[in-house]
Amino acid sequence: MSSLSPSLDRRTLLRMIATGAAASVTGCSAPNETIYPWVDQPENMLPGSIRRYATALPFAGYGRGVTGLVTDGRPIKLEGLEAHPASLGATDLFTETALLDLYDPQRLQAPLGPSGPGSWSAAVASIRARLEGGDGTGLALLTGRVTSPTILREIDALRRRLPAMNHVEWEPINDDAQLAGLERATGKRLLARPRLDDADVIVALGADPLGTGPDQVALARAWSARRRRSPPPRLYCAEPSLTATGAMADRRVSVTSSEMAALCHHIAAALGKGAGAPALPQAVLEFAASAARDLAEVPSRALVLVGQDQPADMHAFAAWLNGVLLAPVDYIAPIASSASHQESLAGLTEAMHAGSIDTLVVLGANPVYNAPPALDFAGAMQRAALAVTADAFPSETGAEAHWRLPLSHALEAWNDWRSTDGTASIAQPLVRPLYDTRSASALIAMIGDPAADAASQHRVRETWRDLDDAAWIGAVAAGVVPDTAVTPEAAGPTARVLPQIPPGRAMELQVRPSPTLWDGRRASNAWAQECPDPITKEVWGASLRCHAQDMAGWGVSEGDHVRVSAGGEALTLPVRTASGQRRGVVTMLAGHGRAQSGAVAEGIGQNAWKLAGSGAVAVARAGSGRAPIDTQSVFALDGELAKIFPIVAPGEALPTKPEQPSLLPNGSPKDSPAPQWAMAIDTDLCIGCNACVVACQAENNVPVIGPDEIAAGRDMHWLRVDRYEVSEEGATGFQPVPCMQCEKAPCEPVCPVEASVHNSEGLNLQVYHRCIGTRTCEANCPYRVRRFNFFDYSQRSVWGDDEAQSVSAQRNPNVTVRGRGVMEKCTYCIQRISTAEHEADANNAPVGKVTTACQAACPTGAITFGSIADVDSEVSKRKRDPRHYALLEDLGTRPRTTYLARTVNDGRRHGKGEA
């Protein structure tokens, strides 16, 4: 496709960006077609200085507020937006990776018609030609979840002209089951919104509130807020396969789907609300008893959560039980349409097969890839006389369409979205469109009226005409429109529903959203592909997670390939044993196996959507093939190794160790007038979401190196998140490992050329231009935090043959781009420290607060950073916590990055002496 796209080299791109900067950054005003070079530098626009703008990004249709960091007219980093309820100042992986999409050379750059490159006007004309004179019969608009008031307004406007048109929303990961379940329990189609910060006991039944999803940041923030308070809360988790929530649970059990349902019966029975006790393994029974006891113990402060992929009656059960428990759950009417996505799509496809849809417009949805294969959506598309898709990236659906139109990145256009709680954001662009792209609302408007203004600001302003100009500017600048959150409604009386126990199956398949790629729409993103799965640490693909005994039964070992088949579909992929996997359940991550998405994702993994919903599957050995690629191979810690990741009971202190004796002079850094930078990471709050990993990558120009390099054992992420299982307790948790910035750094004295030296503020510096690449520093680093440029990674492209020069526009101008043969590592974001110090110098003030990129990203506040010269700083306080420890303390390296131990409150060791 690249040959059809207008070629764009770096210079052109930068010129375009600079042009955009003149218009959009200074004024955020209407499109300005005139180009004025800067004869006089605008005041306060120093090259390289960073300005922050509030805006928002969509995820699965919901808006999430972000702060865009813009320098020289280029957005270079996205951070959270404090005022937005789905961001709360933090980010998740999807927000962090979204920035790369803007500069991704795989993006669709110009309309492509049936006879080659075309224009927007030609595309719109061909749609309109089919609608001419009609009432919209035969027109179907297929979108993802729509919460945008402007898009909804445009669809309404279009429907006024074409009343018979059909609009269908399709998300493969949807709330169908929950809406149906709540309808059963309450009679209303509602969505539950748990208030985790009010919950002393949480029982997650196949639910992954701390895992990936549109609400991850808000839920994780609420959970961590509660987790910091005493008395310690307790998180129970029953699930077939380990998730982030399971990893952070105080008590966890692995169950099949029938055991899950049976578990509900047991909990109900234990609470005296049910009868009958289906047979269950002892461990599940104990779990049920313990969970029920805890639920009953804290009325109105206990909560049951059910996962999105659980059947409707499980959701109904949860609604009933939460009603009984007076649980801290709010119910709201859905923000988007409350129609069932599955049923809507099935209805549309049926109509398409029947030939009653002759014009299909697909906007940002990819049903050819992720619709149930039984629907044969691709076949149905063949029946349409005109199929038009609009998306930012190539897609399987786009490949089947007559017209493939490029959508603007969210940072290139005016948009609005509503969050999961209804809060609306007006999103301003941070850069002029880099290519010939339009926003989704513009396309809908153009279908209705080809003369519609392509520029999006007026359209969004029109939606919000209730706001006067001052309120409009205020809402844009703040990133949220005040008082737009939906008021929770009363669920009313709930019916008692006990889930039907499905028949046991020999082998059942669970399909989960990928924590890095979601439903597959993030698969083209190289940062996302290279970001390790929180549980298996796999990158660039995912294997089938199995229980070791199941694998033995099929006669396969780690990395062998198996064939998973159900209902005429079969996939061949590698297997791995995953801890916490229920025997009899195999788990696949959705989002891989993209066939038409650009060079990054193509050919990687298998498309789990083909088997989703089939439940029972057959698994058979299929020989060997390419092994899965991961970044961590040892998870279990036993014996002495457990010191790496201590686990304590609530309130338990780690033994204090006397200062290590040393032959070296021990100056006290705390006497120094300069700030003494340090970091403290609370492993009890880290949910392994990897937002920090990609935040660091974006902030520090860390290159993407691709699957082959990672398979060779190489690695460039400056910050990694290790996951450990302390086998004795069965407890697990995450440990983010940036540079430890040791006071007695072992990497420094071994460097022959002073590329690794210490500064007066306690930073272990790496002087790139001085480094000759002996790698002795990494050889002598007990923490393995240094990263070596084995090739000229910053110049190599994982984007296929496309020259990735556009990606270089994302680079932070305040961070050196490292060349071949140079060692690099975490610097505590020294560019941010320097900026703060220069500011302090200029204002003759003490150095203000410095926030590292990883800290800014962290949704749970697990990472604190600051000066330990200030005894009142947050980081100093954490370092006095009884759970405080340093990694490999015995080595005497005196790390500045230290940890707080994970606490597990499983009720067995230190609790009430009951199982």
Partner: protein, 169 residues
């Protein structure tokens, strides 16, 4: 111009015998050459200078290296893993290595000077017999002032076991 008597020996025994007798008979030994070094060669001058040269240049080299290390550490001071600046223990290591190198260089220079090497042309090379010293024979040259003494010398050498004698005018 005086004469000299020159003789070739194929073994060190006769050669040593001839040398000892020649000295006893007050012949002046003009030169001794051999295919390998012998203990009696020790009489030819004091060679302890070689050892002194090695020792002095070596120690000077080591001291220079140590000084360089010390100087450079203070010329650009920086904190390296909390180590003190003057880590003399580590400075000793390159100094020791350098001691051996500079000592060897000094020794070779001293060898050239003391052994008269680098003189590619020397009167001894005019004597065809000297060449045999590099192959298989010991060579002894005695100074003779008169023809008679030359004859006596030749007789002495032959008697001691020379397989070849000659008087050079």
């Amino acid at each position: 111009m005086s004469r000299l008597a020159i003789a070739l020996f194929d073994d060190e025994g006769p050669f040593v015998r001839a040398s000892t007798r020649a000295l006893a008979r007050d012949f002046r030994i003009l030169g001794q050459w051999g295919p390998y070094p012998l203990e009696i060669f020790e009489d030819h001058g004091d060679t302890r200078a070689i050892v002194w040269a090695v020792a002095i240049t070596g120690i000077l080299g080591a001291a220079a290296m140590f000084a360089l290390a010390t100087f450079s550490t203070y010329a650009y001071p920086f904190d390296s893993g909390g180590r003190p600046l003057f880590t003399w223990q580590t400075f000793l290591i390159p100094s020791t290595e350098f001691l051996a190198l500079t000592g060897a260089i000094g020794g070779v220079i001293a060898l050239f000077i003391k052994a008269g090497l680098t003189r590619l042309h020397h009167r001894a090379f005019d004597l065809a017999e000297v060449e045999r010293a590099s192959r298989d024979s010991f060579v002894l040259a005695l100074a003779c002032d008169t023809g008679d003494s030359a004859n006596a010398a030749v007789a002495l050498l032959a008697e001691a076991g020379a397989f070849h004698t000659r008087v050079v005018e």
